[in-house]
């Protein structure tokens, strides 16, 4: 029935999903509410928006150049959009001007809806300008990058958020943000761009940090539960690695074969 080589995949996906769903259920029923530590970068998001409001300068946000149906960075884009929901809410609350730069056209309607909702929830619908608060730049990474850095210079942004799947334009965006003096928080699951963020930005949500932050900042606190599910999955991985390495030292390759099945 199952394709050879995919048995371990099915098993691991199933076990991990179950762990996450069970913890999520327990948390939503308040049976077990895990204590999740806050990443300093998450706190910095709020701080950066507040700082921009004090300075009276805008906040810019990019949810990445990967589309909604990207085969590798779709999760990245989804996490970035969740974080956009949070940043938009904070920006509207503190009264800073928000500029969202969009590259993939598929993300545009979603971002428009998220930001517009954030404005109308605070009763500031008139401040949302169609086509201007959420700006479509270009689906091409370099067309997008040239517009985004031009915007950062001209608007003199005070806080810049780079989330989602960015490719080689990541450093260009981040370094320009640093040049205009913006406080920057970035995150990605693109492992080749993370080093650029670590070097150029004030705070970086490395890989899973960004995906967990999406759950951490969810308006529904029960959603934090899933993060503990992620921890369980990681601890299973640690167990497999340690056990597998010790066994293979003894010449037993059972874990490797299991994973290859």
């Amino acid at each position: 029935m199952l394709i050879a080589g995919k048995v371990s995949w099915a098993l691991i996906t199933l076990v991990f999903s179950l762990a996450m769903l069970v913890v999520l259920y327990l948390a939503s029923r308040k049976i077990y509410v895990p204590q999740i530590r806050e990443h300093p970068g998450v706190h910095a998001i709020t701080e950066a928006v507040g700082r921009a409001a004090e300075m009276g300068r805008p906040v810019s946000f990019s949810p990445g150049t990967s589309s909604l149906y990207d085969t590798k960075y779709a999760g990245d884009t989804a996490a970035a959009l969740t974080l956009l929901g949070y940043v938009a809410k904070e920006a509207v609350k503190t009264g800073s001007k928000l500029i969202v730069g969009i590259a993939p056209p598929t993300v545009l309607p979603v971002a428009q809806a998220i930001v517009q909702t954030a404005y109308s929830l605070e009763g500031k619908s008139e401040e949302y300008v169609e086509g201007d608060t959420v700006r479509f730049y270009s689906p091409d990474q370099w067309g997008f990058a040239s517009s985004y850095i031009g915007m950062m210079y001209r608007e003199r942004v005070a806080a810049n958020f780079l989330f989602g799947g960015h490719a080689a334009e990541a450093l260009i965006l981040a370094e320009t943000g640093a040049t205009v003096g913006a406080m920057q928080v970035a995150g990605s699951t693109n492992v080749y761009q993370l080093p650029m963020y670590v070097v150029a930005c004030d705070y970086t949500l490395i890989g899973e940090d960004q995906l967990a932050a999406a759950a951490y900042l969810s308006p529904d606190p029960a959603q934090k539960g899933v993060i503990f599910g992620q921890d369980i999955a990681k601890l299973i991985c640690v167990g497999l690695i340690v056990l597998g390495a010790i066994l293979s030292t003894a010449g037993i390759k059972i874990i490797y074969q299991l994973l290859a099945s």
């Binding site: 996906t13 996450m20 479509f136 040239s146 040049t179 070097v199 999406a214 759950a215 899933v226």
Partner: protein, 210 residues
């Protein structure tokens, strides 16, 4: 009507991933063709989305021109270029026609390669600003970067053949430890986020709860 439509959306969120995930592990030709079609459907819907983007762009720059905002001449230039590309592409019927190729190589190619190459300049300014060894963590970052550069640039091996070897050790270690943990974490994190979206717990990436 709106309620029913939203129900359909939840069903799509549950059924489409089920088909695509089961297709990965099960050998079933029907499942496979449905999964391929689903993928194509998403691409088709995505292609339509570009119209929204173009509309939004025309709206913004049209407003700039009509209200004579400071940057309005640039907006005219942008819209003209855009329509030139669209007309040339659709009239010649292909993006490989000589006319289309000419405008593409004259504008898009040089700007792309320039911006890509600009990374090298930004690496320089970032190196000067950000590699201050103010903490142990920053020191580790700095040392690893320096040894890797000495490994990659031919000059490192000329100064001393030991330098590239140290760089090589650091590179192997980084790939087998930090990178590995990062990749595993990303896999698990994506699964968790995906699950929450699929079962309808996370609505923001769909455009908010409304």
């Amino acid at each position: 009507m709106a309620g029913v439509w939203r129900k359909i959306a939840s069903v799509v969120l549950l059924v489409a991933p089920a088909i695509i995930l089961f297709d990965f592990a099960l050998k079933n030709p029907t499942l496979q063709s449905v999964a391929t079609d689903l993928n194509n459907w998403a691409v088709v819907v995505g292609a339509f989305a570009l119209g929204i983007g173009a509309y939004s762009l025309v709206l913004r720059h049209g407003r700039m021109i009509s209200k004579r905002r400071p940057e309005w001449p640039y907006s005219i230039m942008l819209l003209l270029t855009m329509f030139t590309f669209i007309v040339t592409g659709l009239v010649t019927g292909s993006i490989t026609s000589p006319q289309y190729n000419w405008i593409y190589t004259a504008i898009v190619m040089p700007v792309s390669s320039t911006l890509y190459g600009m990374n090298a300049f930004f690496i320089a300014s970032a190196s000067y600003r950000a590699f201050k060894a103010k903490s142990w963590e920053a020191l580790v970052l700095l040392v690893a970067a320096i040894f890797l550069m000495l490994k990659n640039a031919p000059i490192g091996g000329v100064i001393s053949p030991v330098l590239p070897q140290i760089g090589g050790i650091i590179w192997d270690f980084a790939g087998a430890t930090g990178m590995r943990a990062l990749l595993i974490g990303i896999g698990i994190g994506t699964l968790a986020l995906g699950l929450r979206v699929i079962i309808g717990q996370e609505k923001t990436p769909l455009g908010g709860a409304e």
